[in-house]
């Protein structure tokens, strides 16, 4: 490889590093100042008319394990014998950990959605029944 090409690669590397670093810093600063609002990071989606949706435990668990596994992966990568490198194998136990938290989140969401859909149908049935009952009453003079 010629010296010019090597310098070009180095320059591209430095530009990328500075760009990614600046992006990371901007994201962190905006999270701290509140411009990126994390207020509802682990909240359920708001239902119509609901101002403050409740927090979800399965989302919180997913968040905790995402952070733990990501930090662990970073630690393993930087601690490799011959410099930073992706580990040769990822333990199936780690995948089980992510699978349990992710699966629990998805199932919980599915149950919650089914429950909400069921409640909406119940309300619609009740409204229909009330509307039918009113319609069958004779009009008052």
């Amino acid at each position: 490889m010629s010296e010019g090409m090597a310098n070009l690669i180095l320059a591209i590397g430095w530009v990328t590093v500075v760009f990614v670093g600046a992006l990371g810093a901007i994201i962190l600063i905006q999270m701290i100042t509140g411009k990126i609002d994390l207020g509802h990071l682990i909240s359920e989606p708001a239902k119509p008319g609901q101002e403050n949706p409740e927090a979800s435990l399965s989302r919180f668990q997913f968040l905790v394990f995402t952070f733990v596994v990501a930090m662990s992966l970073l630690l393993v990568i930087v601690s490799q014998k011959d410099g930073p490198a992706f580990p040769g194998t990822i333990s199936p136990d780690v995948l089980a950990l992510i699978g349990i938290s992710g699966g629990s989140y998805l199932i919980s969401k599915g149950i919650q959605t089914s429950r909400d859909v069921g409640l909406e149908k119940e309300k619609a049935k009740q409204k229909e029944a009330e509307g039918g009952a009113e319609g069958s009453q004779p009009p008052t003079a």
């Binding site: 590397g13 990614v20 670093g21 435990l57 919180f60 970073l74 333990s91 938290s101």
Partner: protein, 110 residues
Amino acid sequence: MEILATVIKWEIWVFMVGLVVVVGYQLLIGRINTAGMLNDKESGEFSPARVQLLLFTFIAAGVYFLQVAAEPKEFPAIPQEMLYLLGGSNLFYLGGKGWALVSQLFHLKS
């Protein structure tokens, strides 16, 4: 090139740790909404199933991270008992939610 690799390493470290600190701090001061996290969604009452899931989540996450920190060259083997514990805890929590759904669908509650 070595300086570049070191700078990238530190950038990623600072970003990850910063993210954890920001999210952790905002959870502690209440800026991230945690209201109702330990309450049953249907009755609004305090739910022991949720508390046990929260406890086992913290225990499993803490033990795992400490194991990685002690020997960071490779991912540690997680004891099968811990996976069973965590899985069982999640099953108990989801079982409660599932039962509430079944009760609602078949009007099992009076």
